[in-house]
Each structure stands twice: as C-alpha cells, then as structure tokens.
Symmetry: C2
Subunit: 197 residues, 2 copies
Amino acid sequence: MKEGLRERTRRAVRAELAAMATDLFARQGFDETTVEDIAQAAGMTKRSFFRYFPTKEDVVFDGIDLTGESVVADIAARPADEGPWECLHQVLRAWQEEIHASERALATMRLIEATPALTARLLQRRTEWRRRVSDALRSRPGAELDPYTADLLTNAATAVLDAVSGQWARADGDADRRALLDRGFDQVRVALGTGRA
Amino acid sequence: MKEGLRERTRRAVRAELAAMATDLFARQGFDETTVEDIAQAAGMTKRSFFRYFPTKEDVVFDGIDLTGESVVADIAARPADEGPWECLHQVLRAWQEEIHASERALATMRLIEATPALTARLLQRRTEWRRRVSDALRSRPGAELDPYTADLLTNAATAVLDAVSGQWARADGDADRRALLDRGFDQVRVALGTGRA
DNA sequence: GTCTATCATGTCTTCGAGTGACACGTCGAC
DNA sequence: GTCGACGTGTCACTCGAAGACATGATAGAC
C-alpha cells in the first residue's frame, strides 16, 4: 500500500489541528487566536504547527480549494454546444448550491468576511482561480475564445457572484441565492464577437 | 491660520517618508525593504515611522485613494439622461487615462502587481471602493436602481477593468488600453429590468 | 531481526511588523 | 512667562514566520 502510517498520522494530525483552529477561531476570532493557542490545544509546539500549515491563514482555506478544482472540472464536462456564458451559469449555480449546503463552508465564509486579513487572502486566491477558469473556458471543444473575451466572461461571472453575496449580506441571509444568481446571469450578457467589428 | 507648524512639519515628514519608501521599494522590492530601512533613510526610528503610517503597506497606497474619490465625484457630475452603464464607461475611461498619464501612478501599479501582499490589499480596498461607486450610481438623479442591479453594474465594470489589465499584462504593456476598455464595455451589457420578469 | 536513511518533533534562535510605556523636549494657548 | 498638549526617541514586548540542530521514531532494505 502506498499510504503508510506516516501519511495517515500526518493527515490525522492535520485534521485535528484544523478542527482545533476553526473551533478557536469561531469562539474568539481569528486575530485573537495565536498560533501557540492552536498548537497547545493540539498538544504540540508552535514550530510544529508550521510544519503542517505554511501560515495561520492556510488553516482556514484548507479544504476550500477543492471546490475551485471542481469548478474547472465541471466546465470541461459541460456539453460542447452550450454557450460559454450559459456554461458558467450552470456550473456556478451548482457550486453555489454546494457551498450553501455545507454548514462548515458557510461558517468559514462568515469567518472570512469578518476578518479583513482573510478577506484579502480570499480575493487574492480568487485571482488565481479566475485565471484557471478562464483557461478552462477556452479549452472547451469548439470554443473559439480569445483570451480577452474569456477573461471578460469569467470576470463578469464573478461580478454576478459578488452581487449575489452582497444582496445576501444586505438581506441578512434571508434571500433566495439561486434566484438572485439566475437573475444576475440574465441581466448581464457578454457578447462573443471578437473579429466582428 | 489653522495650519500651525505642527501640521506643516508633519505633512512634510510624511511626504519625505513616502518618497524614501517608494524609492527603496522600487530599487530593492517591497518585501526586501524593512521599515527600519525606510526610517533610517529618513533619519528617524522605526517607532516614529508607525506614527505617520499605520502599516508599511499604507505608504504605497498613500495618494492612491484620491483617484477613488474622483470616480465617485465624476459619476455624480455626468448628465442625468445618460444610462448607468455608459456613465461608468465614460468615467472609468477618464480614470484610466489619468492613471496612464502619471508615471508615478504607473510605477506604483507595477510595484503592487509584483508584490502579492500589496495585491491583496488593493483588492481589499477595491471592495470598499465598489460599494461607494454602487451608491454613487444609485444617487444619480433619475436613476431607479435597486441595490442588486447597481452592484451588478459596478462589479461588471470592474470585470472589464480587470480584463483590460490582464490583456495589458499579457501583451507586456504593448496594448491600446483605451480601445480594450471600449471593446469590453461594448461586449458586456447589463440589462436594468428589475420588475420586468 | 537488524541496520540505516528518512522523517517528525522539540528546543533554541533570529527576523520583521506592529504596539505599549515612559521620559524628554517643543509648540501653542493663555 | 507658565502649563498642558503633542511629537519624538528609547526600550521592551508580542506575534507570525523561518532556520539550525539534536533526538527519537519509522519504513524499508538486507
């Protein structure tokens, strides 16, 4: 077997650490929790913490990146005759449902929104994420998209997502995210003409 | 007079500090420059530096926020019969020209793009900036925009801006930003119908 | 089973950003 | 002129992050 005791314990400790951290973050806030607090709660040294996570922030984003992967995969899996905008609409709708369904993901989102440092990191990550989504769009069979138009589509899609989040926050969580997303994707339209005029 | 020697020297020292800092950042990079380097170059202590700027990052963004202010003001100044999308187009076109014309602003942009920590801060600030632009759009006389649609418009506009920046970076600075912006605003369309369907 | 290279961990140390506390000097209002 | 507010320097501190080194445990070869 390729998964020896080493990897298994490592993953276990990582999960333990993440659990301790999210618990402490939720209780006393991100900035108010020191790495030493987390390490001590898990029965180890501060130095050892950093052997599992490169930064304190990474504990929060652990497990979030997977969803980004899935978006790229989903794009590739959509029918080829579907337009890119509709493709983004469907994929992101599914992605949003997934987030909405997970209590843990929602709690993480709330923590991120409440912590400026984490918000900054999230936005930073999203830049990378968008580049990959844009590439995925261009790689679809039959898609003749120039890089600029692909970026335009991707950025516009995140524009809709942001607007949904904003409305969601304004309504204090009492809003139909799915309906808002559909409405956003309907209101915003991206033309594909590149060599046309 | 309301401006005593205290305020005058304070502003002078601030400018001096900013000048020293940008010089050092340009020469050896942001991360490679310590606050102590800057303070020492200006003939003061690290502690005193933090009495002028709350963080090292704030030195870079000092003087950048003014442009954000001007965008909001410009929106209010546009003719009332102009549609919101066209309004954003014109205002952001002017804003882009302004940045493009200033050698100092361009250098700052390059520094920000080359430094992940600064990029994150920029994105964070833009969140706040977008909220204000969205509000400005809704405050225009005769504009009947619900918050969601206003956000949609604002976010879509920054989506275009980002795509322009991306293309600009891809072309290694050899691109007609104005033409790209116009093309982006032409390709992306935002419908205003809120109670329509 | 033993032996060895690899890996995880603890301890110590260092660096840089940012803050608090205290003392001293200067500006400015009166 | 006095006195209080403010700016500054100095020292000490916290916290995140990383490097160096020693030690103990483990996996895999023999």
